[in-house]
Symmetry: C2
Subunit: 140 residues, 2 copies
């Protein structure tokens, strides 16, 4: 039978998420991860849930979301005062944003594929199609 309270301390969270201890504490201050319980001596006690949160935060950042936007995404669950209708609307807006990001990434990818294909592997570069491909003007 697995031990019920397998708490870990901040160092382990940092290691497993490949962040720093300072960053974890910074996320706590910023409200991105909830204030954890403490041991009698004041050490923070974390669970697996925290690992998942931190990983979510890091990945979302790599995708161009600010910490504020990430807080938004995460709040799509925590606040019991928001109605479902509300959450639904907000998710749909986010979904739209994300689809736009995906489309732009696909354009860049196609442009890069073209770069790679054009280069047969010999001689110097002169022109590349990256800029041309991105001219379609999606309104923000």
């Amino acid at each position: 039978m697995k031990k019920a309270n397998a708490f870990m301390q901040i160092g382990e969270v940092a290691q497993r998420t490949e962040t720093s201890i300072d960053t974890i504490r910074f996320y706590e201050k910023s409200g991105l991860i909830p204030k954890p319980e403490r041991t009698d001596s004041g050490y923070r006690k974390y669970t697996e849930e925290t690992i998942r949160r931190v990983q979510f935060i890091k990945r979302s950042q790599e995708l161009g979301f600010s910490l504020k936007e990430i807080a938004d995404l995460l709040s799509l669950r925590v606040d019991p005062k928001t109605t479902c209708r509300d959450v639904k609307k907000r998710s749909e807006v986010k979904i739209y944003d994300i689809e736009k990001k995906i489309r732009t990434l696909q354009k860049i990818k196609r442009a890069l594929s073209r770069v790679a294909a054009t280069c047969k592997g010999k001689g110097p570069t002169s022109e590349c199609p990256i800029l041309e491909v991105l001219e379609g003007n999606e309104k923000k």
Copy 2:
């Protein structure tokens, strides 16, 4: 016959790209856009090419690329000392990164779709599947 030298000045570039004049000059200082020609009195003279560059920079930023990474992407064309083989290799690495970004965005999107679908529009929120969906551990 179209006029050959339809130059614009910095204000127009700023307006059309929805950035500020200061930002354009900042990009120049940072090497993201080439130093433009000047009028006799010292005003910068730009072409359409600049518009495309600035737009490329802005979009790439929204996708989580730093200015340094963007400089990298753009340099996939300008430096005549790099061989095609080299450019090809670098493009392929970038393509891989971009594919990873797209996959993660798709995961977030699916999670959000689930949020939206689960909410039938009534009552308060309690749980959401955003965190669960992102557990697959792609190595950076």
